[in-house]
């Protein structure tokens, strides 16, 4: 049976006002004919209109419908219904006709979509020549983009980053746009980050690190023909080649019970991307899954935070498979996270991963941690006393200190080679989200 938590419902709300209104509607007095089954919830909400609104929702939050005229997605009625479900206030009952009709219509739409995708996939197979032509066009555009970027980095080093031309964020932002035109969005994002760092007066070190990563990718790209398939895939992904979902799903999957250990939301150009980090209880392998959506309709996490799910994860191709897709999952409930690591294990794993994919960034982990001060700066120490610098705002630092109480406490975080970011922590048996949204 699917379960949804109040935090997950809050994350679905398009704005604070909707969340508040939804909360206000999470009372039986506002509803009639409420109910739920293993996957869906429903009810009739009395609104300002003559007849009540028909409200239906999938309990993952991934699909919903309401007959009210609101343009917000989801509307307050859907949120109210999901809050009631999260409170356990919905009785189990058979689906009424309007819900059955909606579920069938959704299933039919999903089937049609699958058919369309399958047809599109088979069309591509048929048009092998066209596919080859498109690949060549893209490769040629990418090659030009790479050449331009090599030129930019070389010139920047010759004239120096303090030169007025290269200290100007607009130069980098303009180049980022040209990388997008060259169908190299991965490179574009990194160049854009250099511009953003210069614009906000970031440290020289941050800019140099980004330039170093770009140079690594460009050098790897130059010798990609001599590399094995996995490394070629890694370089392609770093440059920004989009791997079709079908291709990922056709590759071999990894079966396990996955603990959804951490999550965070990243906003870029008014698009929200939710990142969830999962670790296999048996395989001990880490993957992350993404879901994206516009700010007006926030995405739902690919897997439910803090829960254990049985699923077959399909990793994206690459020398260091880190991102994965989960075509389906079964929620098997909440239970404590897997055995924690110590920082020495995390650092060793991070070093091994960098040897495989040196431009990669984060290593996710579960460890027992508590806040300390190390070399005069904020840090997190593990149960053996080893500490790593901690990037955190004041309010979250105090909150984490309160939760830990000076004792190593189970937590999930990521290490990027310099600092740790905390994503989740155990508060007396509740696995809570402590991530900071990243713009």
């Amino acid at each position: 049976m699917l379960a949804i938590t109040p935090d997950q419902v809050l994350a679905l709300a398009p704005d604070a006002a909707s969340a508040k209104s939804g909360r206000g509607l999470a009372t039986a007095r506002s509803w009639s004919e409420i109910g739920r089954d293993a996957e869906h919830a429903w009810g009739l909400a009395q609104g300002s209109g003559k007849s009540p609104y028909q409200v239906r929702a999938h309990l993952s939050g991934a699909g919903y419908s309401c007959s009210c005229p609101s343009r917000k997605l989801p509307c307050k009625h859907v949120l109210g219904l999901l809050f009631l479900a999260a409170d356990g206030a919905l009785p189990n009952s058979p689906r009424p006709p309007h819900v059955e009709e909606w579920v069938l219509a959704r299933a039919a739409r999903a089937e049609k979509k699958q058919e369309r995708e399958a047809r599109a996939a088979s069309d591509v197979v048929v048009d092998e020549a066209g596919r080859e032509r498109r690949r060549k066009t893209r490769d040629s555009r990418v090659a030009k983009g790479v050449e331009l970027l090599e030129q930019l980095l070389g010139d920047a080093m010759r004239r120096g980053l303090r030169d007025p031309e290269y200290a100007d964020p607009r130069v980098w932002r303009e180049s980022a746009k040209r990388m997008v035109d060259a169908q190299a969005p991965g490179l574009a994002a990194r160049v854009e980050r250099i511009g953003a760092s210069l614009a906000r007066g970031g440290s020289d070190g941050a800019v140099l690190r980004e330039i170093g990563a770009l140079h690594l990718i460009l050098r790897s790209h130059a010798s990609v023909d001599d590399s094995d398939e996995a490394l070629r895939a890694s370089v392609d992904r770093a440059i920004g080649r989009v791997v079709p979902t079908q291709e990922v799903l056709e590759a071999e999957g990894v079966d396990d019970t996955w603990f959804v250990a951490g999550r965070r939301t990243v906003e870029r150009d008014r698009v929200l991307t939710n990142v969830v980090h999962v670790v296999g209880r048996t395989t001990r392998r880490w993957f992350h899954l993404l879901s994206s959506g516009p700010v007006s309709a926030p995405p739902v996490d690919a897997l439910p935070f803090g829960r254990n799910v049985e699923a077959r994860l399909h990793p994206y191709p690459g020398a260091l498979p880190a991102r994965a897709l989960a075509p389906g999952h079964v929620d098997v409930g909440a239970s404590p996270p897997p055995v924690p690591e110590d920082f020495s294990d995390v650092l060793a794993r991070h070093a091994r991963d960098r040897a495989v994919e040196p431009w990669g960034s984060e290593t996710a982990f579960v460890a027992e941690l508590h806040p300390v001060v190390a070399q005069g700066a904020r840090a997190l120490a593990d149960r053996l006393g080893a500490a790593l610098p901690w990037s955190v705002g004041e309010a979250r630092r105090v909150r984490t200190t309160a939760v830990c109480g000076g004792r190593p406490t189970l937590a999930c975080g990521t290490f990027d080679g310099e600092v740790v970011q905390l994503l989740a922590i155990d508060d007396g048996g509740d696995w809570i989200d402590v991530s900071e949204d990243v713009a």
Binding site: R162, H215, E418, G428
Partner: protein, 501 residues
């Protein structure tokens, strides 16, 4: 070129340096030579890349500066999920008026707050001193531990063991807690500590010290308050200094304020006793002197603002003696329609700065009855009158409510008092209160949603279900009645833990 100079070259440019950069780290020599950079610019880029990988993959753990003692184990149970969720909703701004009742429910159940909610709850206590005693009850050992390690909540650790060394070597929160202990046991010593410390204390600690002693300042403090605190750089510290000086009987500040105030609040010339406010001239404002706030709030003139502050510093008893009247006559005499509000606000501020419970009932009657400031005219709880009434002792409110129940003509005033104080009536008055409040909603007499929420607080827990049943049977609900019902429903989430799912 040394191993670090590649960074300088990257910033200044290879065109301004001589030669190629050296290997960025001695441990990377073999990789560096294998790379065989083609030209200085390429060598700097290689150094960038190598340095990135080396620092990321070669990161080493640090050693913590000072070990932190762990918090004692909490013996009391934590609040359940429904109560914890209710707290988070209140902190987010929903039904904030219910917080005191929520705290009381936790205290009655001997429960402590979940650790993650402690910082926001303690912050709330920092902003609102009236809730501190309750917060200290529910924060548990984890809260005390947290307050002793953070600087923001010294009031939360006042009851823990502190020896004399703390004043010399302790953190600011511990020192403030030590001062609070001294204030309780030996106010004269507390005054001496503040006087000695003032000139070397940080701005935060100066304010923290005054926040401790303002409750019952010793006369010895008058010197430092007059000479230093009244002209402190921080406005909040100046306000605390004024409050402390008003509470020192016969202080110079009160005497000077009365001298000025009696020139502006005078007896009228008509046949009926009345007070007339003659606003001070611009040249007499003396803004910034004696801690007078020079900036009037929006909608208030500078002269009226100064007049209100001067009135606030004079005890009601001084006016009674000055005009030769009792408190009831004094409040009745404040009838000049032009400046009545300013004078009433000044009196209310005076009662807030220097609690004068003897005048409370007279003041209520003077304001609410004589001037017909009933619920409809009272506006909402945002009005200054309400702020004052909230601070009335519970016994005073209960006695007033009891008296008002006896007189049917005073029903409007009863609702006004309930609205203003948000007092939950229980025992024999519970059912009567429900009936009166419901009748107001049935007659559509409550318009503002905020007022409706406060009236919901007056309903006893034992009455909530029956009142909700009555409301559910209505065909149509006004917006205020809806807000009333929602507040009642919200109250059940923390008052009925047996419903925990």
């Amino acid at each position: 070129m040394s191993s670090d100079e590649w960074r300088v070259t990257a910033l200044l440019g290879t065109s301004r340096s001589t030669g190629s950069p050296a290997c960025p780290h001695p441990g990377l020599e073999s990789v560096w030579s294998a790379l065989g950079a083609d030209g200085p610019a390429r060598a700097v880029l290689d150094a960038c890349a190598l340095s990135l990988v080396a620092s990321s993959a070669g990161a080493l753990p640090l050693e913590a500066d000072d070990p932190v003692a762990a918090a004692p184990v909490e013996e009391r149970p934590r609040v359940g999920a429904r109560r914890a969720d209710a707290l988070r909703r209140m902190i987010a701004g929903e039904h904030a008026e219910c917080l005191v009742e929520w705290l009381d429910a936790c205290i009655a159940a001997n429960e402590v707050v979940t650790s993650r909610d402690l910082p926001v709850l303690l912050d709330l206590g920092r902003r609102d001193a009236s809730k501190r005693t309750r917060i200290v009850h529910v924060m548990g050992t984890r809260g005390a531990w947290l307050a002793s390690h953070e600087s923001s909540w010294p009031w939360a650790i006042e009851s823990t063991e502190l020896d004399d060394d703390v004043w010399v070597h302790g953190s600011e929160p511990e020192r403030a807690a030590y001062l609070a202990r001294a204030q309780d046991t030996d106010p004269e010593r507390a005054a001496a500590l503040v006087t000695e410390e003032w000139s070397t204390a940080s701005a935060d600690f100066r304010e923290a010290m005054l926040a401790v002693v303002v409750r019952a300042p010793h006369p010895c403090l008058e010197g430092v308050l007059e000479s230093k605190a009244l002209s402190d750089r921080r406005a909040s510290t100046r306000r605390l200094a004024v409050a402390a000086l008003v509470r020192i009987p016969g202080s110079g500040l009160t005497t000077r304020a009365f001298e000025r105030a009696r020139r502006i609040l005078v007896r009228g010339t008509g046949s009926v006793a009345s007070l007339v406010l003659e606003l001070p001239h611009d040249r007499e404002l003396g803004q910034g002197v004696d801690g007078l706030d020079p900036k009037p709030p929006k909608g208030c003139g500078a002269r009226a603002h100064v007049a209100r502050q001067l009135l606030a510093r004079v005890p009601i008893a001084s006016w009674c003696a000055h005009f030769g009247v009792d408190a009831a006559e004094l409040f009745r005499a404040n009838s000049d329609p032009e400046w009545r509000d300013v004078v009433t606000a000044g009196f209310a501020d005076s009662m807030r700065l220097l609690p004068q419970p003897d005048c409370a009932v007279d003041f209520l009657r003077g304001v609410l009855l004589a001037q017909e400031w009933h619920v409809g005219l009272l506006g909402t709880r945002e009005s200054w009158t309400v702020g004052w009434m909230e601070e009335l002792p519970h016994e005073t409110v209960d006695a007033l409510v009891e008296a008002l129940f006896e007189r049917e003509t005073d029903v409007d005033l009863l609702v006004a008092v309930l609205l203003a104080t948000g007092r939950t009536l229980d025992g024999a008055n519970a059912a009567r209160c429900s009936s009166v409040v419901l009748s107001w909603f049935l007659a559509d007499r409550v318009r503002a949603n905020a007022d409706a929420a406060y009236l919901a607080l007056c309903i006893a827990p034992t009455e909530i279900r029956s009142v909700l049943a009555r409301i559910a049977s209505l065909d149509r609900l006004s917006s205020a009645a809806e807000a009333f019902a929602r507040t009642l429903e919200f109250r059940t989430t923390y008052l009925e833990p047996s419903q925990e799912r």
